[in-house]
């Protein structure tokens, strides 16, 4: 196991920001980023010129710009001495935070903003090459719902998947979105398990309410060293305490069990680094592009055995009131997926809960959190990027 560069908890999150999630906003990622940046600066009492580290994500909406991060920093008035962009897809937020922590530890910068923004429901400029051109697009695969249709059907072949368990998770997350002012407004009405079960099929067995919907928005965090946080008089600092990532799990195997994902590695590993067992985790904020992905993460992180995720969900209260609150702000499935910035939605909700600022959906004991990221559907298996981070006080 790799050493834990976050074990000393010497770099913390001192502020966060998040826009309301919109559909077809007509706004650019620059504009959404500016809104989140203003919130972070205001909370931290800083000016743009104080920020010397900056990381963001590759986007769907501005991906034809090969110089996106310098353009974005220029737009915001930031002169970084350390700059980074992540193409970990939905894992970009955690990847950015992990690398910002390393940059601060290494002395490359002191005040690093990890600001994720995207607006894919307004502008779509992505054009993926590689195998997609020859062996993916011509098959008519319905993008992520098609890929997850194949994955979910295989899971159902090997294990007992109970649709009502996924329905229960969908209902719990929707309850969080109803109480989350930043969630996409049309999603802020309750649903029932029957609504889930009766939602139309996109690509069997994936239903509409299994899936995220593309939306526009931004969210971000400000990190600095423990010492600098004291000088800023920052209160309620949240410390990343362990991080693991794996990309292209098992990719040289030609006929692997595709229901085994990178989380079978990073899930147990990140908890071991943090000195936790699954039972110690007070909140879980898993990347939720599809409900089945959350169930698989629950199993592979170790809350239950493989194939027992349905029973675990049916036996566990995963609402914000429950014993294992999951994606208390609605997650992406019920708040909207802000493109490749979306991993920050899960992370910011975890930080907000740990700071006791989640209002009506506040969990009682937000002592720690596990947050995860997933990036990009891959050929003939699950997904390419799996990453996970623990947060502590």
């Amino acid at each position: 196991m790799a050493s834990n560069f976050l074990a000393g908890q010497d770099v913390g999150i001192v502020a966060y920001g998040e826009t309301k999630i919109e559909r077809r906003s007509g706004r650019t990622p620059y504009e959404f980023a500016a809104e989140t940046f203003e919130e972070i600066l205001t909370k931290a009492g800083l000016q743009p010129g104080d920020i010397d580290g900056f990381a963001t994500n590759v986007t769907h909406s501005e991906s034809s710009n090969q110089y996106y991060t310098p353009y974005l920093c220029d737009y915001l008035g930031v002169t970084p001495r350390w700059m980074d962009i992540s193409d970990h897809g939905g894992g970009s937020a955690l990847a950015g935070v992990s690398r910002a922590a390393l940059a601060i530890q290494a002395g490359m910068c002191e005040l690093a903003v990890v600001l994720c923004a995207d607006a894919p429901s307004t502008s779509w400029k992505a054009a993926n090459g590689g195998y997609r051109v020859e062996f993916w697009d011509p098959t008519g695969i319905q993008g992520p719902p098609g890929g997850f249709g194949l994955l979910m059907n295989r899971y159902m072949t090997q294990y007992d998947l109970k649709p009502e368990a996924l329905g229960k998770l969908a209902v719990a997350q929707r309850e969080g979105a109803v109480l989350n002012e930043n969630a996409y407004e049309k999603f802020r009405k309750p649903i029932t398990v029957d609504d889930y079960l009766e939602s139309r099929v996109i690509s069997t067995p994936v239903r509409l309410l299994d899936c995220v919907m593309f939306a526009d928005g931004a969210a971000g965090v400000l990190l600095t060293s423990r010492e600098r946080a004291k000088k800023l008089s920052a209160q309620n600092v949240i410390f990343p305490s362990a991080y693991s990532e794996i990309v292209n799990f098992d990719c040289a195997e030609q006929i692997p069990d595709i229901t085994e994902t990178g989380f079978s590695v990073v899930g147990p590993e990140v908890l071991e680094k943090a000195g936790m067992s699954p039972g110690d985790v007070r909140m879980f904020h898993p990347y939720d592009d599809f409900l089945i992905a959350e169930l698989m993460q629950i199993e592979q992180t170790g809350w239950c055995a493989r194939g027992e995720g349905s029973d675990f969900l049916l036996e566990t209260d995963v609402s914000f009131r429950g014993t294992l609150p999951i994606n208390t702000g609605g997650g992406q499935i019920s708040a909207g997926q802000i493109g490749l910035a979306s991993g920050m939605t899960n992370l910011v909700e975890a930080v907000r809960q740990m700071r006791g600022e989640a209002g009506e959906r506040q969990v009682k004991d937000p002592a720690n959190a596990l947050v995860t990221g997933i990036g990009v559907i891959t050929y003939g298996r699950s997904w390419k990027v799996s990453n996970a981070m623990t947060l502590e006080h």
Partner: protein, 136 residues
């Protein structure tokens, strides 16, 4: 922009993948074989994912295998509107690779994981055929 494309996507070959498409045109399914590891690999690449060596050789595959997983799609991608709902499968070939392809001459009601299938070919344009699978 994807929404302007009404036709099914046409594969654009590279120097590395051209033998695969030459095979399709001749009604053959060609696979890359790694002589060092005695394994096949798919999709085609310039080098072996096991050894990194660029010593792969093309061999004609049997074209038979079984369904590893499948999905029936109700919201079509451009070019698939008229055949919606349509079936897509991960087929595990007897050479030990999996390949993503449409299933034809079969309905969702009669297929299952593990079912034997064999390669078939369909026309995308006058110049371009594409591989698919049908019940064996």
């Amino acid at each position: 922009m994807a929404e302007n494309r009404k036709q099914r996507a046409i594969p654009i070959s590279t120097k590395t993948t051209q033998p695969f498409w030459d095979g399709i045109e001749a009604g053959k399914l060609m696979l890359q074989y790694d002589p060092d590891e005695n394994v096949y690999q798919f999709y085609p690449r310039a080098g072996s994912v096991k050894t990194g060596r660029r010593n792969l050789v093309w061999r004609e595959a049997s074209g038979v295998g079984t369904i590893y997983s499948f999905t029936e799609t109700y919201v079509p991608i451009a070019g698939f509107e008229e055949r919606t709902p349509y079936l897509l499968a991960m087929v595990e070939l007897e050479e030990g690779v999996r390949i993503l392809a449409n299933l034809i001459n079969v309905s969702a009601a009669t297929i299952s994981v593990g079912m034997p299938v064999k390669v078939a070919f369909e026309t995308i344009t006058d110049e371009q055929d594409y591989f698919c699978f049908e019940p064996a």
